[in-house]
Symmetry: C2
Subunit: 298 residues, 2 copies
């Protein structure tokens, strides 16, 4: 069987089977980050790659590509309630790549880290055959206070489902220059204590069922409440992907959105549904790395 026939979630599930674990691993594969016990708190580990022709176009400004590569990992730290610490950069490029391109790529990475935290402490540059797509893989260590950790699996029936920002149409530019929601996540874990949280990378249609499933719940989605980006349809908001917004669940209370608006007047927060008892709902749309038939950017 080909991996394209199996689909991403099933491949991951297959690979996780039979992996050894350790007492220090609090959260293993399947969440936004792995979580490791340490005396001073919890360590977050995450790796994420962008590939030329899939996550960015060859002619794209390398600064924007570098920003995106790093911001995706930071978005995952935010999704656990944490902050970035040290990062490693793996660069797979051909010998004919220009040095100027690589330097600008690093400038983009450094720019994102300067704004949102974290430092590059090493990495590797490896050559690939000419004509192969360039790949930038970022591995990062983050940290989160024990009482602030939020996973995908803590949602409870009756919790409200919330999403930050706007959804859809990321390909117009947002997928390259978004700000990972580090600051917003820090406020949420301090003030709201979400029961479950993740970042939206594959589209709400794909990601919400994942969160609900890991929380052992179903969901009821209020389609007319979705915060569609200007010019975007519901279909865009559900399926385009690469929103890099926070999706979280929490006991609903009227003060939540009011409190948020006082601190983040420029970022929308929207209640889009509720966790319910019956599991197994699905939403048409969303991105699968291996099943997608089109060649649009992810």
């Amino acid at each position: 069987m080909k991996v394209g026939e199996l689909g991403e979630d099933q491949i991951v599930a297959t690979l996780i089977e039979g992996l050894a674990s350790s007492q220090q691993v609090l959260v293993g594969p399947g969440d936004d980050c792995a979580v490791i016990e340490a005396p001073e708190g919890l360590i977050l580990l995450k790796t994420d790659a962008v590939v030329e022709g899939i996550h960015f176009l060859s002619e794209e400004n390398p600064k924007r590509v570098g920003w995106k590569a790093v911001a995706r990992v930071l978005s995952d730290f935010a999704a656990m309630g944490g902050v970035p610490k040290e990062l490693l950069v793996t660069l797979a490029i051909s010998k004919s790549s220009s040095v100027a391109w690589v330097k600008e790529l690093y400038e983009g990475m450094a720019g994102c880290l300067k704004k949102h935290g974290g430092v590059i402490v090493g990495g590797e540059t490896t050559s690939i055959p000419d004509g192969s797509p360039a790949m930038i893989s970022i591995a990062g260590k983050g940290q989160v206070q024990r009482e602030h950790l939020v996973t995908r699996s803590g949602g409870v029936v009756g919790d409200g489902i919330y999403v930050t920002g706007h959804l859809g149409g990321s390909l117009a530019g947002h997928h390259l220059d978004f700000n990972p929601r580090i600051e917003q996540a820090a406020w949420l874990v301090e003030n709201v204590k979400p029961s479950a949280m993740m970042d939206l990378s594959d589209g709400l249609a794909k990601d919400l069922p994942r969160l609900a499933k890991m929380s052992g719940c179903g969901f009821q989605l209020q389609l007319d409440a979705l915060p569609c980006r200007e010019g975007c349809s519901l279909e865009n908001a559900l399926g385009d992907g690469e929103d890099y917004e926070l999706l979280f669940t929490s006991e609903s209370h009227s003060e939540l959105i009011k409190g948020w608006q006082r601190v983040f007047p420029g970022v929308r927060l929207t209640k889009i549904g509720e966790l319910v008892l019956e599991e197994g709902q699905s939403i048409p749309g969303g991105w699968d790395h291996f099943r997608a038939e089109d060649s649009s950017l992810e």
Copy 2:
């Protein structure tokens, strides 16, 4: 300018310039691993990738490929005197890859970790265009006791230069099934306290000058002492690369090799030279990821 004209060490030096650092970063880019301060000791961070057609052939047994991908990272932990803890796996493969191949790859990785320590806690599987070479990138966290840390930069004029095992001819099979020298490194940091250490991945001709330079020394190499693998020439031992043996420096004393032989009778330890005052020697040969003109495996 193309990266192929600049060469690997120079590219890394260029990229390191201008990176921010942090107080918690004890060792940044340029050593086998980055070293991060933590209350319970020191954290090692490392990332390393293998690419189809460069580090392994397409028709290679995927179990051996998985073993190699993981063993390379473990070898870097050993080089700092440390042990592996948690690893992340980034797999970039096309949709037409077979699920069986991926499963066997993971079996190989798990086999190496079972023998030498460490667990896989997550990662990512991303699709690349059909026909692009597969890439397996392993990011890992290790740890080392503060008093056991060895870097590349601690060598002192007059120290003996030592190497474990045999050198050269790795392509015949060693590069796929080697055992990272975790156990040997643990014995060395406990009993010998090397002044500097690294693992040999690009060949002695490339790697020894790196260690000497970071220690602010030159070196005198006894070519006739090199432990060439059976059937290998001096040129092979210097330049083939992928030996994954430990290269370290230490005050010379007669008990060192005797003590080693009692504990590791099956693994050779050889004194191959001395650190000297005058810097800047070079040795012909060795592997450069971007300058190599041939297409042999690295």
